[in-house]
């Protein structure tokens, strides 16, 4: 029992006030949000992402190192729309940081800052696969939403750290201007894609399609989150041939065999698109993400 006495005493001694630091600690669930927060926050913030851009944030597993990060955070930025529902709630429970609990100023759900697509109306069932009632959560793949996200983050940073309001607003303007200029370049580069039918692996590119004017007519997955079967692939082969669909787009982390099979059967071009900042080497910020996506799409179209 002596041990316990010491443990309890140690516990009491360890109740020490947390020392404040100059930079706001911003923790994000994905690298895309981290990149935008960094662009807006500059040296006034210290940004960490809980998941790397190479992994599907929907299936991240809560790790102890995440608890430390959330525990110390001043601001937690989340994608929302059920994206992190499998791992964020227990993480928030373990992290015991009231500042970043939902409802407090330190918690910002960016899905509320953008118009969500793919909202489901009518009856919903899990027989439909992995569906999100509140809308499709892959909204960062529309550069116009990048501006909305940046703007929401800037307002929240201003609220939490009013002393640096000018710096945040200035960086937001720079970010918005750069993105606007770039959007014109990207749109011009992909002009040939306007109105074209495209197949995606997963329901994750509807915002990209919306931004650049192409149409996603089908997915390789028969239902969201359900792996393709021989029968579902055979049906796709027929559809691709009938409708002369020329392009298949997918994230780097999905299996390539189904796409390879469709390519061999129908000659459809496959573009593996980085879906997030950090998904591939050389994509360090939000602008570079779309540079890479546009380059991949152009390459696939020109082949």
């Amino acid at each position: 029992m002596n041990r316990l006495f010491y443990l309890l005493s140690a516990l009491l001694i360890l109740i020490s006030p947390q020392l404040g630091h100059a930079a706001l600690k911003v923790v994000t669930t994905t690298q895309d949000l981290a990149a935008i927060a960094q662009a807006v926050g500059g040296e006034q913030v210290q940004v960490q992402s809980l998941t790397p851009g190479t992994r599907d944030p929907h299936y991240a597993s809560a790790k102890p190192s995440m608890i430390r990060k959330v525990f110390r955070a001043d601001l937690l930025l989340v994608i929302g729309a059920d994206m992190e529902t499998g791992w964020l709630p227990p993480l928030l429970q373990s992290a015991r940081n009231n500042r970043v609990q939902p409802g407090n100023p330190g918690y910002l759900d960016l899905s509320a800052a953008v118009p969500l697509l793919g909202k489901l109306n009518g009856p919903m069932s899990r027989a439909m696969g992995d569906v999100h009632a509140s809308g499709n959560p892959h909204y960062w793949l529309d550069p116009r939403n990048g501006v909305r996200i940046a703007s929401a983050i800037a307002s929240r940073l201003t609220e939490l750290d009013p002393a640096n309001t000018d710096a945040y607003q200035q960086r937001l303007q720079t970010f918005t201007r750069t993105l606007n200029d770039k959007l014109a370049v990207w749109t011009a580069a992909l002009a040939a894609m306007k109105g074209k039918p495209v197949i995606a692996y997963h329901k994750s590119f509807i915002y990209l399609a919306d931004a650049f004017g192409f149409t996603i007519v089908d997915e390789v997955e028969p239902k969201p989150g359900i792996s393709p079967s021989a029968a579902s692939l055979a049906a796709l082969v027929t559809r691709i041939k009938d409708e002369k669909i020329a392009l298949l787009i997918m994230e780097p982390y999905y299996e390539r065999r189904s796409a390879q099979f469709l390519h061999e059967k129908t000659d459809i071009q496959v573009a593996v698109l980085p879906q997030s900042v950090g998904a591939q080497a050389g994509i360090g910020n939000y602008i570079e993400l779309f540079d890479a996506i546009v380059a991949e799409l152009k390459k696939a179209m020109d082949t």
């Binding site: 041990r3 102890p64 190192s65 608890i67 430390r68 499998g86 992995d130 550069p143 501006v147 780097p252």
Partner: protein, 458 residues
């Protein structure tokens, strides 16, 4: 045996804990009947919660409708004008979450049901030649207010006699944002000892519970009523310290006061009640977590338990354990696959059997370990292998809970989706207490999850 000074220490530490947790101390009340009162209180609380949540959900729905109407107006996609962020709806963590999880098994073994039940000693293990309803679990959870979260797990089960059994598996609250990284948990809960013990059957990687846990903690795992405090230590890595105290009596605290009439090592347990704070079950755990690299993460923990046992009026038990968990996942992964994980635990128990002066008095020393590896080789598919060993000093090979036991269990699991699972497992047992020294068993398990699927801890 305790000398006077260590008893004082026990009381002093209890007093400190009691002071810290003064408003919660009702949970540690050792008086008989308290459990029943508590269950009634929790039931009332749950009904109350349901009512409040329904009101809140209605209010939120109305807010949502208003916001959606507003959003409709402003869905112009003009990039130039950054819009201010609308009020954030508290999507995560609000509302009452309800989940139902069912676990069913079909099995066949080279021995009859009586022998199989002695090998599959976990209360939720498949233990019949034929079908077993392992577990139907109802989970209610949610955020109560800005200060606490709460959760209740009610289990329904059909036993070997065909009777339906209802258990309050867990019902507890946790604080949300105490200062200095502290968290208090109180109610009825699984003791945080090792990695496996606090896990519910539907998150296990094998169809049955490890042999050594069935021996030390009984069929249902170690759980009881009490409070615990945990603290995130101010280290550069994740480091958390848990200390707690719980009631030491009942079938789910089997190495401690347990229930009168049960046997251990030839001693029949008496009806002993905790006399004061120093007679409670004390627990401590220190858990550390590291990211070894981008691909590998590791958890290392040590745990301890100290409390009275009912083989005499002045007898104590202590249990120590160490656990290690390693997980590898490549930088690119689809639905969390592929991965490799390795989980091992070793436990040791020291059980003082019989009061001083009792001619049969002895100290029973038992130990055991299990080590299990999982390989998620393609999305939805996991292959596993578990090896176990358990033994006890001075056993004569007749006690099913103390003989030398080895078990090897390969299995294969398929997840058609996140919400369902099919698992095939083969068990090879080496045992002393049965006339068959080796036993072969095969189990096929099916799991489903309805409603809100309780997210898993790391």
């Amino acid at each position: 045996m305790l000398d006077h000074s260590s008893l004082c220490m026990k009381r002093a530490s209890a007093a400190i804990a009691a002071f810290m947790l003064y408003p919660l101390s009702t949970f540690a009340d050792p008086q008989a009947g308290a459990v029943r009162e508590q269950i009634d209180a929790i039931r009332q609380q749950m009904q109350q919660m349901q009512k409040t949540y329904e009101q809140q959900i209605n209010a939120l729905e109305q807010r949502l409708q208003v916001m959606e109407a507003e959003a409709q107006k402003s869905t112009d996609t003009d990039i130039g004008v950054p819009q201010p962020a609308p009020e954030t709806p508290t999507a995560a963590g609000s509302g009452l979450q309800i989940g139902v999880s069912g676990l069913f098994a079909a099995g066949g073994s080279s021995v009859g049901n009586d022998e199989l039940e002695s090998l599959q000693a976990g209360a939720h293990d498949p233990n019949q030649n034929g079908f077993t309803v392992q577990n139907l679990e109802l989970t209610l959870s949610g955020t109560v207010d800005p200060y606490i979260d709460a959760q209740a797990n009610v289990i329904l089960q059909i036993d070997a006699e065909g009777e339906t059994v209802v258990e309050l598996e867990e019902a507890f609250f946790t604080t949300r944002g105490l200062p200095s990284g502290l968290q208090v948990k109180g109610g009825q809960y699984f003791t945080e000892f090792g990695r496996q013990n606090p896990q519910h059957p539907h998150v296990w990687s094998f169809v049955d519970q490890p042999v050594v846990l069935s021996r030390f903690f009984g069929g249902d795992g170690l759980r009881s009523q009490g409070v615990r405090v945990s603290k995130l230590l101010p280290t550069d890595w994740y480091s958390e310290l848990y200390v707690g105290m719980q009631n030491p009596k009942g079938e789910t605290v089997s190495s401690f006061l347990n229930a009168a009439g049960e046997d251990i090592g030839g001693f029949t347990l008496i009806d002993r009640d905790p006399r004061n704070f120093s007679d409670l079950l004390y627990s401590a755990r220190w858990l550390n977590g590291f990211d070894v690299s981008d691909k590998v993460s590791m958890n290392v923990g040590v745990s301890g338990l100290w409390g009275p046992n009912a083989s005499g009026n002045n007898t104590d038990t202590s249990i120590y354990g160490a656990d290690l968990y390693l997980k590898w996942q490549p930088v690119y992964s689809q639905r969390g696959f592929p991965f490799v994980s390795w989980h091992s635990e070793v436990l040791q128990r020291r059980y003082e059997a019989g009061d001083p002066g009792d001619p049969n008095r002895q100290t029973l020393k038992d130990w055991g370990l299990f080590t299990q590896a999982l390989w998620g080789f393609k999305p939805g598919w996991v292959a596993g292998l578990r090896a176990e060993y358990a033994s006890a000093d001075g056993d004569d090979g007749t006690d099913p809970l103390r003989d030398t036991r080895k078990r090897l269990s390969p299995n294969l699991t398929w997840y058609p989706s996140e919400y369902s699972r099919v698992r095939l497992q083969y068990n090879r047992d080496w045992t002393e207490h049965l006339s068959d020294k080796t036993v072969d068993s095969v189990f096929l398990q099916m799991e489903f999850n309805l409603g809100s699927h309780a997210a898993h801890k790391f």
